[in-house]
Symmetry: C2
Subunit: 338 residues, 2 copies
DNA sequence: CTGAAAGCGCTTACAG
DNA sequence: CTGAAAGCGCTTACAG
């Protein structure tokens, strides 16, 4: 029973067919749940399959059928909880639709991303959902399309080409966050975090727009870029505190940098909410229980993931659909940090 | 060029062979980098392949060769940064070894886990690394082995069976953490977080062992279980503060619950380090920049992932190896919370 | 309702 | 060094 299970060839549909006394076509049909086969035959086949420990060979089936039930998702940064939440929403929807989803991680590495995409293509995947690594060429969607693979890009736009997209209104979100700070009486407001990419551009635009709304002059020395991590946010806040004592408010690139900033504030004996007004962006789960709880802009990460899944599913069903776009409307959630 | 790329059949090695004026065997050989083929022939074949936009059909190759270069990893909780870090270590090593890795997420759902495993089996995957969902039967490794698929289990043990494993010495870790608190003069020390599973058992054992080391009586009312999340940790700490005013120290199930506890402390105007001594467990990246920075026990999540990869790679290379086990030694890292 | 036959795109002995 | 042939495990018209 367990000595050597591989000294005999794997059992195939022809073994099952023999055992059930039917042809292999019949076995194939019952495996696919065809209603061409009467219940008793199908029953007999299933029993035989179970008895023999038959395992469906999906590779063979897909080779023949030229289709796949697998969807690939390529993600850029697993360590950022924001992306993890997007992923959860995406995956849930996809498996509900009967697909099996395979994720892979680029770690913001373009070369690795290229390899992953190629691997997925060779694998004959049914569709791809991706959040492109920083620096991804705008031509990528066109390339993937030319491969004949349905694609949805998430979170980070890729130029103005025509591709399905699920993301957030970053500009409006930061604009609202900044306006909230202004409405609290702040005039000198820093922007903390982010180093490059379309998302940073959009968020900075929102920041500037809010300033303009209120006739506050933009001061470039108030934008401190940093890696979009806790560490980066920590460093940026320390720097801000040293260089600009008078600044008592900041909007952050994302929640992660805000968490770092919270930590830096704490290091100096300061507390957001009381001594400093701080806004995050994303509303990751964590932000409800940071110290103190973070005021932020909610872009519903899981929803963005789920919507990306919907778009992809529709695209797979109908390749000729016109370009689809889901833009999440941001909502301010005010907790204690501002 | 882009009208309809799929009105013609995909180009295959026979097309390439025709274009390069060789047989398809030759094409196959050069694709595999065989040195049987002279450089000029191989050059000619590659050019033809490039010109025709040939894509390797891995499914067909694997079907014939009965092998795979894909490894599946099944993970239980993407939202916990600890697992994300394990994953990063695991994946990095696997892709360095030339495998393509497909991850999938169970969300602690046994049924989903079963489906994923089955899908991977049907896919003919080369190996599986998994962190089993809570409640996974101890028989699982034996089952997977009977499928002929190399397996390594991570983080959570699965009974005493013989299976490759990479995880941490949870008991020793918590014991050290608790002893540290005791050495600071604390006698009444709470244990916060965790709801079930082998990891909780081991960590509780360590907690009790430290108490015993110091002749402190175990008081079951001091262990407050909760979901291993920020929210859970927050609730547990609030509860502790209400019910047991005298308790000024706690060791947490993991960093995530500790972060929640930090937040709860902050809500009450308390600060870990000054007003309360708090220890985490894991040393996730986040813990260096929480507010305040967390004292915790470092079990090197990325290393555990990378070691899991090594074990799996060895197992694939040699199925008859005796059982392998990597147990990460915990190290106290003292920051500000205790 | 079921069977015989062809074929998906590769790889791998086996000749030469 | 290269070609002809068989076969991996399925699915899918096509007959009957």
């Amino acid at each position: 029973m367990n000595k050597k299970s591989n000294d005999s060839r794997a059992t195939t549909i022809v073994d099952v067919a023999a055992a059930a006394n039917v042809s292999k076509s019949t076995v194939s049909l019952v495996l696919q749940g065809s209603d061409l086969i009467p219940a008793d035959t199908s029953e007999r086949v299933r029993e035989a399959a179970a008895k023999l420990g038959y395992v469906y060979n999906r590779r063979a089936a897909e080779l023949r059928r030229k289709s796949s039930n697998a969807i690939g998702v390529v993600i850029n940064d697993l360590r950022n909880p924001f992306f993890a939440e997007v992923l959860v929403g995406l995956e849930g929807k996809l498996v509900d639709a009967g697909y099996t989803v395979f994720m892979a991680h680029t770690n913001e590495n373009l070369e690795r991303q290229q390899k992953l995409l190629t691997a997925m293509r060779e694998q004959g995947i049914a569709g791809i959902a991706m959040c492109p690594a920083l620096g991804t060429p705008a031509s990528l969607p066109k390339t993937v399309k030319s491969w004949g693979i349905p694609l949805v890009v998430m979170i980070r736009t890729l130029g103005v080409g025509s591709y399905d997209f699920s993301g957030a209104d970053n500009s409006l979100g930061v604009r609202n966050a900044t306006n909230h700070l202004i409405s609290k009486g702040h005039q000198r407001i820093a922007f903390l975090g982010g180093v490059t990419g379309p998302v940073l551009q959009e968020r900075l635009e929102g920041y500037k727009a809010a300033l303009a709304d209120n006739d506050i002059e933009f001061d470039s020395s108030l934008v401190l870029t940093s890696q979009p991590t806790r560490e980066g946010g920590h460093a940026a806040m320390i720097h801000l505190l040293r260089a600009r004592e008078m600044v008592k408010a900041a909007v952050c690139y994302n929640d992660l940098t805000a968490f770092g900033a919270l930590s830096a504030l704490g290091d100096q004996g300061l507390r957001a909410g009381a001594d400093f007004a701080l806004m995050g962006f994303d509303n990751v789960l964590d932000s409800a229980h940071s110290n103190p709880p973070l005021s932020t802009v909610d872009v519903k990460p899981e929803t963005m993931g789920a919507e990306a899944a919907s778009l992809l599913l529709k695209r797979i069903k109908n390749p000729d659909l016109k370009v689809q776009r889901y833009i999440q409307l941001p909502e301010l959630v005010l907790r204690q940090s501002a």
